[in-house]
């Protein structure tokens, strides 16, 4: 626990490095109210200031946790230590929107919703489904994507340039502001999804896409896994070109809902939606497939998890969808739990969710029944054992402390990760003192 520690940090050096530095308060705690409270919070206003802050942190051997909107800061394991939070929200500028080049360069603390508003002025967007309040740097660092990952990939696929500050305060850039560029190693890929463990992201450049003129959601409900899997595969493999193929099953053994997003011109989308409805119909839904211009109420959006929620990610090859759905059912029945399952089935990702037993939160996608920590851990562990075959895996993205503790006895939050020794070597190179978000990534056996 941090509070008992005597800090070597003197706020004088930090204040000299950065115009806005304050002491950490309870609201800054990472990992809930019982989490780690940072001694200081620095809010750099520029990459240079961020570099100065990290130089001080290096001199004083401070553990540093970068923070954007903070919405995913509670994911994974809480940091083992946090002397200093680098709060990026003062760096919130859209530096350049080159509409003709379909490129935007933004500071890491810029909110995705505000960026979207600027880009929409030119009929463009960053084709990621992320919360409006999320920051660009946070989106990249978390690496997570919503339904349209099916067509556009995740943040790493749209990121074309990055500026980072290393743990020792060195500023480095990679990529650039042209989409096509193979000069040098692509550090953007490395930092995308690195969860603040390699360094501090201060600027990112995205490639943009034109906003579609029209969109349509084609939905259908299926009684069992074989039909739903067939529908998902048909939609995902169709030359009608879906932007997203989502699936939701609010409770194990229950009906499965499939929705396909089509984007394009008004006439094109209308024609494609009719054909897509026909495709879904041939997989024998329980009622005729529907077409709507608006998303169904259960449309999952980006993966979210509030305090107390457990979010389990299952990744797989789409050809194994039916098997995955059955494995989830079996594991849920055996553990006596009732998770809500939803996600980008067409892209090979589903999330099983358990709502917090204490809070009154009811996420839009159906919640999932709260369950005892041991049962949740049993579910995730059993599912991992069934699906661990080198073509996907089971990772607990977010979980409250008691579930994490129960998981630790079952091998941790993630299954086996290929290339782990190389990952450790990379971490050692970028952050030899292990001061950047220490312990952030779940321990891996």
């Amino acid at each position: 626990m941090n509070s008992s520690r005597t800090y070597a940090a003197d706020s004088g050096a930090l204040s000299k490095a950065c115009a806005e530095v304050r002491e950490g308060v309870a609201a800054d705690a990472i990992g809930g109210s019982a989490g780690v409270v940072p001694a200081f919070v620095a809010l750099p206003g520029s990459t240079a200031e961020a570099a100065a802050v990290l130089r001080v942190a290096a001199e004083q051997e401070l553990a540093v946790v970068p923070r954007g909107a903070g919405s995913r800061l509670g994911w994974g394991a809480p940091p083992a230590a946090c002397d200093l939070v680098a709060d990026m929200t003062r760096m919130d500028a859209v530096i350049e929107h080159a509409a003709g080049d379909l490129v935007a360069r933004v500071q890491a603390g810029a909110r995705m919703g505000e960026i979207a508003a600027v880009l929409a002025g030119a009929g463009q967007e960053i084709a990621l489904d992320v919360p409006a309040e999320a920051t660009a740097g946070g989106v990249v660092a978390s690496g997570l994507a919503g339904p349209r990952r099916f067509r556009y990939g995740s943040p790493r696929d749209l990121l074309i340039g990055i500026t980072i500050v290393r743990a020792d305060g060195t500023v480095a850039r990679a990529g650039g502001k042209v989409v096509k560029n193979v000069a040098g190693y692509d550090l953007g890929k490395l930092f995308a999804g690195s969860a603040g463990t390699l360094g501090l992201i201060t600027e990112v450049t995205f490639r943009l896409h034109p906003l579609p003129a029209a969109r349509a959601f084609v939905t259908a409900e299926f009684a069992g896994e074989p039909a739903a899997s067939e529908a998902v595969a048909a939609a995902a493999n169709s030359p009608l070109i879906a932007s997203a193929v989502e699936l939701s099953r609010p409770s194990p053994g229950g009906p499965l809902r499939v929705a396909v997003l089509l984007e394009g011109s008004a006439d094109g989308v209308a024609a494609r939606a009719r054909e897509m409805a026909g495709l879904l119909a041939s997989a024998q839904p329980t009622s005729p497939a529907g077409v709507s211009a608006t998303a169904p109420a259960w449309w999952p959006g980006p993966p979210v998890a509030g305090a107390g929620t457990t979010l389990v990610r299952v990744s797989f090859w789409v050809s194994a969808l039916g098997q995955v759905l059955r494995a989830i059912d079996t594991a849920a029945r055996d553990a006596g739990v009732s998770p809500a399952v939803a996600g980008s089935a067409g892209a090979g990702v589903l999330y099983a969710r358990f709502a917090s037993g204490v809070s009154a939160e009811t996420p839009a996608d159906g919640g999932g029944e709260p369950a005892p920590a041991g049962a949740i851990a049993g579910f995730a562990g059993a599912l991992g054992d069934t699906l661990e075959h080198g073509r996907g895996g089971v990772t607990v993205l977010a979980a409250p402390a008691e579930v994490r503790a129960a998981l630790a006895a079952r091998g941790g939050m993630a299954g086996s990760v290929p290339g782990l020794s190389l990952m450790r070597a990379v971490k050692d190179q970028f952050d030899p003192g292990h001061r950047m978000s220490p312990g952030r990534f779940p321990e891996v056996v």
Partner: protein, 497 residues
């Protein structure tokens, strides 16, 4: 520099040739080459201006053999270079004169196709086009399509993060590779990525792709397959100036259309292509624009009419459209033959691969024209207009030292211009040995140092394709480990990353 005198081999070369016996045990006598004449056939890749004869060539047949070969090299401290089909244009596969060249061409199988998941697992030596041919019966294709796709290997594509004309819409190799089995520079087999596209831990798959063979050797590749489009239309528009063609490009992008490809050729390239393949492009045109649209029939038809009218509005003197594969191939033939065709106009040429923001294309082309006029060196322009990737072909007579020098100076000035406009020195050919000297113009010393941290993590001994990409190698020092002594506040044992 070649420094091999008759009968006297430098020590370092002897060290590599001494591995021949072990390599023969691993790969079989037929797959280890030591004969100087045979070794010479591997002295360069597609960029013939950089050459080095390897000390030894091995052709492993399995991932296990590759790992064993690399382990021998690592133990002996002998550098090694992997080579696919040798079509690279930046000298990325130029051998090390004191090292082992590991040729992947025997490993060329398509191991598995999963049409429902849209994945294939292939060996690195398989050619790019044969992946598409293998999956075509399922209505799928492999999207990255470098011009050399008939011969280039997928393993080489991974090393270079290859693009191609259609990456404007479909993305680069890195967007289509979802898993790699690699042999690390220490000789260990490991997987990066599992074919799902969902990363657990760091995205080493993404960092590895495009690292130009400097982080290890690929032995299996899980590629993403793309659904073959319902409709494909190719539009050819001829203009009296490059500017007019450029206007059409801007208008098309401005209309919110993302074509599969937008290519442009200038008068010199058009003329050369016509002479070479009789592609029948409109005579006397100063610029030919090719716009390919693909996708659902319901969308492409509407896009086609928009593109047609935008091309017209920009002042096209002639517009042709083609939707059947044979007609399209006929039109593409001119574009695809351009490099070779232009090459015939002069005894030698340098192909550049600079990128500029698309909106700066007009300015940069004007600058290239001025540079060409100034130096008296002819430049033909063939380029991926949609993504600002220029391929200026600098034509010169290599029999003249003065002209050779002028051509090199001009090439450098073109890259300087690309950097000045916020672009890149390479869009798809890679840095290799050829452009490493330009890296400090595009990146700061700290940028390059930081990139090389990745190198140090993968290859601390710097034996894997050394001397490529970075002008100055970073000393990795001792093999790094975790910090000595735990962080005062770190719970012991809790921390992995």
């Amino acid at each position: 520099m070649e420094a091999r005198m008759e009968g006297v081999l430098p020590m370092a070369v002897t060290k590599a040739t001494a591995l021949a016996g072990r390599m023969t045990q691993i790969c079989g006598a037929a797959n280890v080459l030591t004969d100087p004449l045979e070794l010479r056939t591997y002295e360069c890749d597609g960029l013939t201006s950089h050459r080095a004869t390897p000390a030894l060539v091995v052709l492993p047949g399995t991932a296990g053999e590759v790992a064993a070969v690399v382990r021998e090299c690592a133990q002996a401290g002998v550098p090694f270079v992997a080579r696919g089909s040798g079509t690279g244009l930046s000298g990325g596969a130029v051998p090390h004169s004191e090292g082992v060249l590991i040729v992947m061409s025997r490993m060329r199988r398509v191991l598995e196709i999963d049409p429902v998941a849209r994945r294939a697992i292939v060996e690195p030596g398989v050619t790019n086009l044969s992946v598409t041919e293998a999956v075509r019966p399922y209505g799928l294709f492999y999207a990255p399509d470098p011009s050399s796709q008939v011969v280039c290997s997928v393993g080489g594509n991974v090393a270079e993060n290859s693009g191609g004309a259609h990456c404007l819409k479909h993305g680069f190799t890195v967007n289509h590779v979802l898993g790699l089995e690699i042999v690390t520079p220490a000789g260990e087999l490991t997987w990066l990525g599992d074919g799902t596209g969902v990363a657990s831990g760091y995205d080493l798959l993404g960092a590895f792709t495009g690292s130009e063979g400097t982080l290890g050797i690929v032995t299996k590749i899980i590629v993403k397959l793309t659904v073959a489009p319902q409709a494909v239309h190719l539009v050819l528009a001829a203009y009296d100036s490059l500017e007019a063609g450029g206007r059409a490009v801007s208008d098309i992008i401005g209309a919110g259309i993302v074509p599969a490809a937008i290519e442009m050729m200038d008068a010199l390239s058009i003329e050369a292509a016509e002479a070479a393949v009789h592609c029948g492009y409109p005579e006397g045109a100063a610029a030919v624009l090719l716009v390919e649209l693909d996708g659902p029939a319901a969308e492409v038809e509407a896009e086609l009419s928009t593109v047609h009218s935008l091309c017209e509005k920009a002042g096209a003197r002639e517009i042709r459209t083609a939707d059947d594969p044979v007609q399209r191939a006929g039109i593409w033939a001119g574009r695809k033959s351009a490099f070779a065709a232009v090459g015939r106009l002069a005894p030698a040429y340098i192909v550049q691969d600079g990128v500029v923001p698309r909106t700066a294309l007009g300015d940069v082309l004007a600058r290239i024209w001025a540079l060409s006029q100034e130096s008296g060196i002819r430049v033909a322009n063939v380029f991926h207009a949609g993504d600002g990737n220029l391929h200026p072909l600098v034509l010169y007579d290599d029999a003249s030292a003065a002209e050779t020098e002028a051509a090199e100076v001009l090439s450098g000035a073109i890259l300087d211009t690309c950097i000045e406009y916020g672009g890149s020195i390479t869009g798809e050919h890679g840095v290799g040995v050829d452009k490493s000297k330009y890296m400090p113009k595009m990146f700061s010393a700290d940028d390059l140092d930081t990139m090389q941290l990745v190198r140090c993590a993968f290859d601390p001994a710097s034996l894997c394709n050394p001397g490529k990409v970075f002008p100055t190698p970073r000393l990795c020092g001792e093999v790094p480990g975790p910090r000595r002594g735990a962080h005062p506040a770190a719970a012991p044992g809790a921390e992995i990353f």
